[in-house]
Symmetry: C2
Subunit: 136 residues, 2 copies
C-alpha cells in the first residue's frame, strides 16, 4: 500500500473507491486540476460521485495535507505535492505533462526580486502548443 493510503488509514480515514480514485487521478494528472476537470476525469473511469462528496473529499484531503489547494487569480486548483517542475500544455487535447529544465530561472529570480522589491517564493512556467498527436 502506498504512503498516502497509510497516512489516511493511520488517522482513522477509510479507503473508499471514490477517495482512491481521486488520489489516483490527481497523481496521474500532475497539476492545475480544477474541481470541474477532476469530475470529468473521474467520469472516464466510470466514477460519478455526488457533487457534495467531491466537495467534501477535497476538503478532507486538503486538511490532511495529502492534497494542496493552489489559488491562482481567484481560481482553485488541486494537486498532490511534488518536486518543482514545469509544464507542457497541449492546446489540442488539454494534456498537461511535466518537463525538467535547467536552473536558469533561479538566477533570474534573484535579480527580478531586487529590481522590483518583491519577495519571490515560487514561480511557474508553462509552454503552450500542440503535442505530437494533435499536430496532425
Amino acid at each position: 500500500m502506498n504512503t498516502i493510503h497509510k497516512t489516511i488509514q493511520s488517522s482513522g480515514g477509510r479507503l473508499t473507491k471514490t477517495r482512491k480514485a481521486i488520489i489516483y487521478v490527481l497523481s496521474e494528472n500532475c497539476c492545475l486540476l480544477t474541481k470541474a476537470t477532476l469530475i470529468e476525469k473521474l467520469k472516464t473511469k466510470k466514477i460519478k460521485p455526488n457533487r457534495s462528496t467531491i466537495y467534501r473529499e477535497l476538503q478532507f484531503l486538503t486538511k490532511k495535507n495529502i492534497v494542496i489547494k493552489n489559488t491562482l487569480a481567484g481560481v482553485d486548483y488541486y494537486e498532490i505535492p511534488q518536486d518543482h517542475h514545469h509544464h507542457l500544455v497541449c492546446l489540442g487535447c488539454g494534456l498537461i505533462s511535466k518537463i525538467e529544465i535547467g536552473n536558469h530561472l533561479k538566477k533570474q529570480e534573484k535579480q527580478i526580486a531586487e529590481q522590483n522589491n518583491f519577495n519571490i517564493v515560487n514561480h511557474s512556467l508553462e509552454f503552450y502548443g500542440y503535442c505530437h498527436k494533435c499536430q496532425a
Copy 2:
C-alpha cells in the same frame, strides 16, 4: 478618444458607462482576470451591472476582438491583447504586475520543442511572492 473607443463606435457600438469601465479595468489589470475578479474590481468603482450585462458585455468585446478570452485548465480569463511579457503575482494582495525579462526562454523553447516533439506556440512565466507593501 482612444483606439478601442473608436473601434466600438465605428462598428455601431455605443460607449456606455459599464462598457467603458470594463475596458478601463481590463487595461489597468493587465491580465489573468476572471469574470468574478472583474465584477469585484468594478464594484470598487461603484459600478454594479446586472450579471447578464457583464456576461453579454464580455461576449461583445470578445467577438469584436477588443478583448481576448484565454482558457487555462478549463477556466476563462479575459484580457486586452498586449505584447508578450511575464508577471509578478503578489500572494498577499493579489496584485499582478508586468515584468520584462531577457529572451533566454526563446532559446530554451526550441530545445524543449525538439526534445518533446511538441509544437510550442506560446509560454507563460509567473513569479509568486510578496510585494513591498505585503512584506510588512
